[in-house]
Subunit: 119 residues, 2 copies
C-alpha cells in the first residue's frame, strides 16, 4: 500500500546544492515547483525510481540545525575506487569506515551521504 | 554511476520502530547485521527497490537530537483517504498540508514521514 518515493532535505543555497549533487553524484533535475515562498526540486540518478527532493525556503538565511545528524542517504556504485578518488579530489569525504568498506561525503548543508559498493 | 539505494535513521528502541514501520507503512525486514555494539536492519516496502535502514546502537539511552528536523522520507499511496484514516486511528499524524494534498506522520524517534498520493 505504501512505496518509498523520495527523501527531502532542506537546503540553504539551492544553486550550490544542485551543483554539488550533479558533480559529486550525477543527480539531475527531473522537475520543480516554484512558489513565491519556496522552491522544490526533484533530482533523479538516471537508474532507479527513487528521487531526492531539495526544499529551498527563499527567506531562510540561517544554516539548518541538523542535530546529531544520525541519518543519511546512501548511494551504491559499481566502482568504489573511482568514486573515492573523485570525492577525495572534491574534498567532500567526511568519514571512512574501513571495516564495512564504505565511506561518507558531506553535502553543502552538512548532510551525510554514504557511498557503498554495489551488492 | 551512483544509485540511491537506502536511507538510514538511527533509532532508540529497535523493536518499537520495527512495529511502527510495519503497522503504519507495511515495511518488512529484508536482512539484518548484528554485532556486539549495534544492529542494522533493512526494511523493504515490497514494491520498490529502495530500502529503509534502521541503525540501533545498543548502548544508546538518550533520545536522538534531530535538530530542526527539516528533512523527511516520503511514501506514496494509491488510496490517500484509507491511509489517512489508518494513521488518524494510530494517532501518528503530525502535520497536514491541505494546499499540497499531503500529510506527515511521526515515527517513534520523531522522524517525519510524508504521505503523498501516487502520481
Amino acid at each position: 500500500m505504501f512505496k518509498m518515493v523520495h527523501h527531502c532535505y532542506n537546503v540553504l543555497d539551492l544553486e550550490k546544492s544542485l551543483r554539488f549533487y550533479d558533480e559529486a553524484l550525477g543527480l539531475k533535475e527531473k522537475r520543480r515547483m516554484d512558489t513565491p515562498g519556496f522552491t522544490l526540486v526533484f533530482l533523479g540518478d538516471g537508474v532507479g525510481e527513487f528521487e531526492l527532493e531539495l526544499t529551498y525556503l527563499k527567506d531562510r538565511t540561517e544554516p539548518y540545525d541538523l542535530g546529531e545528524g544520525e541519518f543519511h542517504l546512501a548511494f551504491e556504485t559499481k566502482d568504489l575506487a573511482a568514486a573515492h578518488a573523485k570525492h577525495e579530489a572534491m574534498g567532500c569525504i567526511c568519514f571512512e569506515n574501513h571495516d564495512l568498506g564504505v565511506y561518507f561525503i558531506e553535502d553543502p548543508d552538512g548532510y551525510w551521504l554514504e557511498i557503498v559498493p554495489a551488492r
